[in-house]
Point group: C2
DNA sequence: TTTAGCACTCATCGAAGGAGAGTGCTAACA
DNA sequence: TGTTAGCACTCTCCTTCGATGAGTGCTAAA
């Protein structure tokens, strides 16, 4: 059996209706709502075919049909026409992504909030991958006696500060020397390399120059910690899930939210199958919890270098064209801005 | 009518049972579960009295009784005996509060996570009030050409860094001079004062020395922003609410979570009626959303100076003695640590 | 090939009724 | 006079049972 134009029209009608109503739809209702020029009986026959093809299914015998995962997949791949965002929406996104904020957490938080507001879905935003990151400079600033502020600048533009205990009073000159040792060893090196190889070397160097600093443990621990790839992931608009009729029972909500609480898992949701835009529908998702959800995600990059990803999560019955348009435009806007804005993050 | 010992025993039995089961309890069940040495009929008479006193109530005629807000209040004030935390719990709390972390966000996040884990309730933790804070030092570090890293150290120990655009290349000496101007004006001044008075003065000073720096707007904007009292509030274990039988209908959950999404309102939940430990039961709460919740909160301080607050939120039917013991011990432990740990935050 | 007609299925809703837990009242008891 | 047993009554909860209605598949006619 083959898909023909009439089958396609009916499938599209079913999906478009279901996206709005979340109710199974029957042949009679389709004939009434959509002007297809054929009678319910004909539609019934076609629907029977569509069911054999696996594109729609019946929750139970006497209910209407709903799209299956395969149906959505067919819709997304072959039926759906892309939409253009409204000017205002574009303007808001461009405006928001153009902001230059040095605190990476804030950028992520803002982005995810905006994304969930625009789509009415749940958004997931991941920050830059640290593994591709390298050390820039390290500075020391005086603080309380016996303590110093260590400022670590990474080459993707992230700046961190840590307060470190140095055990006894040190002169600015000593701190200066310490900084130059660290900088000499670490500048331009990847976090991974520093973690795996250079830390020992630095430790040896520092113990050799024992007069320089007594207690370097804490400082090295801070550097080590800074190398860890605890990638930031941010979730926005999780509450939107509560509004979806498919999540009206508490146990589903619990499962979902429990999942959301683990950053590590969340990150995996965003892991792209390939560069660019990814669409994961229902059962395609690796996590069983999201077998009735779909994820639209995309990566943002700077000069071909993937930095992070953003995505939206909603019921399989989401408005795909809108979600895709927004995620797509947003990553583009972010990437352009990063390219323009001088390699920040 | 007066409370006598027998009434007190019965009230305590009702509350203790309800805290565990969340089910109304009847005279027969009380007689069976608790060894009070009196018959169901007698208990019935006493319960009737307790109802007249407003300490318990009936959901409907043929159900058992449940404690009223006033009943809980009486329990907390007069009946409940304080408990001692287990050694392990104390150890965990002390260990966690002893950690010295320079990122204030992390401290708050950790604390709130721990608190919700220990109590199985939802926790709210607020960071130090910025209004009581004063500027310490400001440093500039070189960054990309035309940009600099501005490190702001506040006297409560918070360190912030910001990347500022300075429009054209400046030498380290120029940055040094700039820093000394800012430090001279701002060191030791409260954020409020800087915001209200000193910023203009600094601006005037900078324009007078126009050769020093061309575009100081962004820098000043950053300082202004740093003065804003956007107090951090953190919520932990909101999911625990989902496990409470009183929140099994979705509309309540929605209301609650919608409330949680607004930091501003959340902060108000913690606002203490007085110093020390605060207990707000059910309808005593200013927010209608929390009329079937109770809040146990306490402030942590350094040298008599209140810095912030922590609290737990749960159904009115919470384990008060446990929650109180934990919140109390935790604030004490935090305060002691702050005092010992050299005025960090 | 399309359509009208018809018998059939099944979820949903409301009414009816039994079970169970709990109460208040009365009268007897210590 | 306080305590207790007995009993009628109340009200929620659960189950059962039709009625309703939306939807289907099949058959036969157009």
């Amino acid at each position: 059996m083959q898909m023909d134009e009439r089958k396609r029209r009916i499938l599209r009608a079913i999906i478009q209706d279901y996206i709005v109503t979340a109710e199974p739809i029957g042949s009679r209702t389709i004939a009434r709502k959509f002007d297809l020029g054929i009678s319910p009986a004909t539609i019934r026959n076609e629907m029977s075919d569509l069911e054999v093809l696996g594109l729609i299914e019946q929750p139970h015998t006497s209910a209407g049909r709903i799209p299956s995962d395969a149906g959505y997949r067919y819709y997304v791949d072959c039926l759906m026409e892309g939409i253009e965002l409204a000017k205002e929406e574009k303007a808001i996104i461009e405006q928001e992504t153009a902001k230059r904020i040095s605190e990476i957490q804030q950028v992520i938080a803002h982005t995810s909030k905006l994304l969930s507001q625009l789509t009415s879905l749940t958004s997931i935003v991941s920050g830059p991958l640290k593994e591709k990151n390298t050390f820039g400079q390290i500075h020391f600033l005086p603080y309380q006696p016996g303590e110093a502020i260590m400022v670590i600048v990474k080459e993707n533009g992230v700046v961190e500060n840590h307060i470190v205990d140095i055990g006894h009073e040190v002169s600015p000159e000593e701190l200066q020397r310490l900084a130059s040792i660290l900088n000499e060893k670490m500048r331009g090196q990847s976090l991974k390399k520093v973690k795996k190889e250079l830390l020992h070397e630095i430790y040896r160097e520092l113990t050799r120059q024992r007069h320089l600093i007594d207690e370097s443990q804490e400082m090295l621990a801070v550097i080590l910690d800074s190398c860890e790839e605890k990638e930031q992931v941010y979730l926005g608009g999780a509450l939107n899930m509560l509004n979806q009729p498919e999540f009206k029972d508490l146990s589903k909500i619990k499962k979902l939210f429990r999942f959301f609480e683990e950053d590590q898992s969340l990150k995996k949701l965003l892991q792209p199958a390939h560069e660019g835009l990814n669409i994961t529908i229902g059962g395609e998702n690796i996590f069983e919890e999201f077998h009735d959800c779909s994820v639209i995600s995309a990566t943002y990059r700077i000069d071909e270098d993937t930095l992070g990803a953003i995505g939206v999560l909603g019921p399989t019955r989401m408005n795909y064209s809108k979600a895709i348009a927004i995620v797509d435009f947003m990553t583009q806007s972010m990437s352009e801005n990063l390219a323009r804005g001088r390699k920040r993050y």
